[in-house]
């Protein structure tokens, strides 16, 4: 039953990063590449029409984690206190940037909210990557000081960074050189994804240029990925064990690889949807591979005293999980129905769609 819920939450999270991921990506593209007012407007529209129904997946993932793995939810949310609150503020800035830019028609107003949307999208992409980096690296669970646990059980508190910026100390911070590498991968991946979304949903004049941008970013991503595999081994030496033990887990890295390979042909691809499909594979493969390398651990412990948090030691009762599964399945079917209705009715390019009141 724990495994069921683990898979469901992993799917919801992956869907969140695929859907809201393109919102973040459009923000980054908007920040760096949109120069003409018409492009800015249409790119903001391509995210603005969808962000709130995409963000719901984050709320759903949060609610499900809370329900299925309450101990994990409690320790991770209080442990990453400062970065999470900063993420909340960024989410707010991004949302109001999108919603409010077209409400008034003078340039300064628009410039402020464009920057708010772009910068907060960029930082959110970076923070989500850093978060993944932290989960891979593990934390000092229970806050061990000189071989003695200072907090009961599994509570911890991470400072934003440690002065050494090293992931290998006894008390690593949220930001260190390893998590920054993962953060950069996230920024590059979501930029590619966002660019593909802009190409798919708009007739923007920069669409052609964006294909070149994607190609170049993809090279950067390939280099970063190879580099990260190397440092990944340093911070978490057990990370390959699962793939050796359960060879079918290899399907996840292969999904990632397919995405990366596909994107090298972006300039030749005629149909816009394929580019988007490849970057979707990239995100899907990236998240599932990371989770698969940790499974069944949810958060590794960097000290020897505390057990890592796993899906087994952080869960609630069997009965709770099973009733939730019943309504969860119904809910899921409804979600996909809503999503299909919405994407069908609002399919096609957004240029002509009415937005901004």
């Amino acid at each position: 039953m724990e495994i069921f819920w683990y898979i469901i939450i992993a799917i919801v999270l992956a869907v969140f990063f695929i859907l809201d991921g393109y919102d973040f990506g459009t923000g980054i593209i908007h920040l760096f590449f949109a120069k003409k007012e018409k492009d800015k407007e249409v790119i903001a529209k391509s995210a603005g029409l969808f962000w709130d129904s995409n963000e719901v997946w984050l709320v759903a993932a949060g609610g499900m984690l809370f329900m299925a793995f309450p101990t994990f939810y409690a320790s991770v949310f209080s442990g990453f206190y400062l970065p999470l609150i900063i993420v909340l503020w960024l989410i707010i800035f991004r949302a109001i940037g999108l919603e409010f830019r077209s409400q008034f028609h003078f340039q300064m107003w628009k410039d402020i909210w464009d920057k708010s949307f772009g910068v907060s999208s960029l930082l959110l992409a970076l923070f989500f990557g850093i978060a993944l980096g932290n989960i891979v690296r593990g934390v000092n669970l229970g806050g061990v000081e000189n071989g003695v646990s200072v907090y009961e059980g599994h509570y911890f508190f991470l400072p934003l960074w440690d002065s050494s910026f090293s992931p290998l100390t006894e008390h690593p911070g949220v930001i260190d050189w390893f998590t920054i590498v993962i953060g950069l991968i996230s920024v590059v991946t979501l930029s590619i994804h966002g660019a593909n979304w802009v190409i798919l949903k708009t007739n923007s004049s920069i669409n052609k240029k964006l294909k070149g941008v994607i190609f170049n970013l993809n090279i950067v991503l390939a280099v970063l990925t190879v580099f990260s595999l190397f440092v990944w081994q340093i911070v978490n030496p057990n990370s390959l064990y699962n793939f050796v033990d359960k060879p079918y887990f290899m399907v996840f890295p292969i999904i990632y690889l397919t995405g990366i390979m596909g994107l090298f042909f972006i300039k030749k691809i005629k149909k816009d949807i394929y580019g988007f499909v490849f970057s979707t594979l990239l995100i899907l493969g990236g998240i599932t591979s990371s989770l698969a390398s940790l499974f069944p651990v949810l958060l590794p412990s960097v000290n020897d005293i505390n057990e890592p948090l796993t899906i087994y030691n952080t869960t609630t009762s069997e009965y709770g999980l099973s009733v939730a599964l019943t309504w969860g399945v119904i809910g899921f079917i409804l979600l996909f129905v809503y999503m299909i209705i919405q994407k069908r009715l609002m399919g096609g390019k957004v240029d002509k769609m009415d937005y901004g009141h």
Partner: protein, 443 residues
């Protein structure tokens, strides 16, 4: 630890107060939008369709604010109240996850369709999307109140050896005797808020002599919805809730009503008075004998336990705040009924649209339903103190053990600053929409 508890409570109180301003309007307003759209389908008068779309614009800005201030609420359970989350997540996680899955998704998917999709679908489908938005927003209220009802009156749980609460009976969460009255009371109160907002915009148009046709429509709709809902808020739902508090949280009931000492021959109802915590009595009291006993138990002489019957640690920790919240809510509710009755009388005599003094009153009354709703919410929450889960888990045992008070203070200040900005933007945008009026619709 003391500091920590104080800042955690302050932060939660602040963020939820600000958040609750928005959903209370969207829940009520969605009903009125469905009403306008339904009238349009019935008599094909373009005026009603424009009214529906006009309020949908205000709804949309409110909804955005509700979403961006609501996500922090879910996060804060984990960040600031980690112990509480760990112990009760298996239960209230159910209702919170259901809220995300069944209502929030419904609302946000169909809101976009309602706003942007009128041309893409027929009028009947458009009505349906509006109705689904309404359904989603009310379902949201249902699940949030189911969560709160469990904290007020825990049911269907089992406590494990490690102190964790786990679910034992899922359906008990939704048949909780606390839930239905609290839900109905809350939803009707949100209809009161939206009625006052609609009536107030109507009064504004009439006083300004612009958009007069819509001014009359809004005022009439607002007054009729407002009277019905404010009556229903008081009776039967308000009465029903008060009886529940008396039954399940007698200590909170005594503090709410300001009964310091038990009277053997029936309890009086306090209309006015200030709790004096030093001498344990009410100063400047105006009270009517035996009424409270009758209202609570339909028996003039039935005894109601006063605060002297409870141990100090069972009593709410801030009795004056609880007492005032409750009395402000009841007082305002009474005023609303009075104003709406008067307005209906003049509406019936065909004088309301030109009766300036009353129009001014209606226009400026708009913050008060918000205050009444918030004080109502405070009454429930302060009454539950000193517990998070009534009788089972103390508030002081629910906070995050590893987060220091400095961090909470820092993030609290951040939220205050950010929400000030949000509030300002919100007022500017809603003001602009109202100023433009219903005819300036592009779609």
């Amino acid at each position: 630890m003391e500091d920590m508890l104080f800042y955690d409570r302050l932060q939660f109180a602040f963020t939820i107060t600000f958040h609750y301003i928005f959903p209370q309007l969207t829940m009520g307003l969605s009903l009125m939008i469905v009403f306008f759209k339904w009238k349009y389908l019935r008599n094909n008068d373009e005026k009603y369709n424009n009214a529906a779309k006009f309020f949908m614009k205000i709804f949309a800005v409110n909804f955005t604010m509700g979403v961006v201030t609501g996500i922090p609420m879910e996060f804060q359970f984990g960040t600031n109240w980690a112990k509480f989350s760990e112990l009760t997540g298996g239960i209230i996680g159910q209702t919170l996850a259901m809220e995300g899955m069944f209502s929030f998704f419904l609302e946000s998917s169909f809101l976009a369709l309602f706003i942007f999709g009128e041309k893409l679908m027929g009028q009947k489908l458009h009505f349906l999307t509006g109705f689904l938005v309404f359904l989603g927003s009310w379902a949201s209220g249902w699940f949030i109140l189911a969560t709160n009802a469990w904290m007020q009156h825990p049911v269907g749980y089992e406590v494990l050896e490690n102190g964790k609460f786990v679910l034992e009976n899922f359906s008990a969460l939704f048949t909780n005797p606390w839930l239905l009255p609290a839900f109905l009371h809350n939803q009707l109160a949100s209809v009161v808020t939206s009625s006052f907002v609609v009536a107030s915009i109507g009064a504004f148009y009439l006083l300004r002599k612009k958009q007069v046709e819509y001014g009359k429509l809004f005022l009439k709709t607002g007054v009729i919805f407002g009277l019905v809902s404010s009556l229903l808020v008081a009776f039967p739902t308000g009465d029903w809730n008060a009886k529940n508090v008396a039954k399940y949280q007698p200590a909170a009931f005594a503090a709410m009503e300001g009964i310091f000492e038990t009277e053997e021959a029936g309890a009086e109802i306090v209309l006015v008075g200030q709790p004096n915590m030093v001498e344990k009595k009410l100063d400047n009291k105006i009270a009517v004998p035996n009424i409270l006993s009758f209202l609570t138990h339909q028996d003039w002489n039935k005894q109601i336990p006063g605060m002297d019957q409870f141990k100090k640690e069972e009593l709410p920790d801030n009795i004056p705040a609880l007492y005032y919240s409750y009395h402000i809510m009841v007082g305002l509710g009474t005023i609303f009924i009075g104003v709406m009755l008067l307005s209906l009388f003049f509406l019936w005599r065909r004088k309301l649209y030109t009766l300036k003094p009353l129009l001014w009153v209606i226009m400026f009354l708009v913050p008060f339903p918000y205050i009444a709703n918030l004080t109502g919410w405070y009454t429930a929450e302060l009454g539950r103190q000193p517990y998070l889960v009534y009788g089972l888990l103390k508030t002081s045992d629910g906070i995050s053990p590893t987060v220091s008070s400095g961090n909470t203070l820092f993030t609290l200040l951040g939220f205050v600053a950010l929400y000030m900005l949000l509030g300002l933007l919100f007022l500017v945008l809603v003001g602009k929409t109202i100023n433009e009026g219903p005819k300036h619709q592009k779609h």
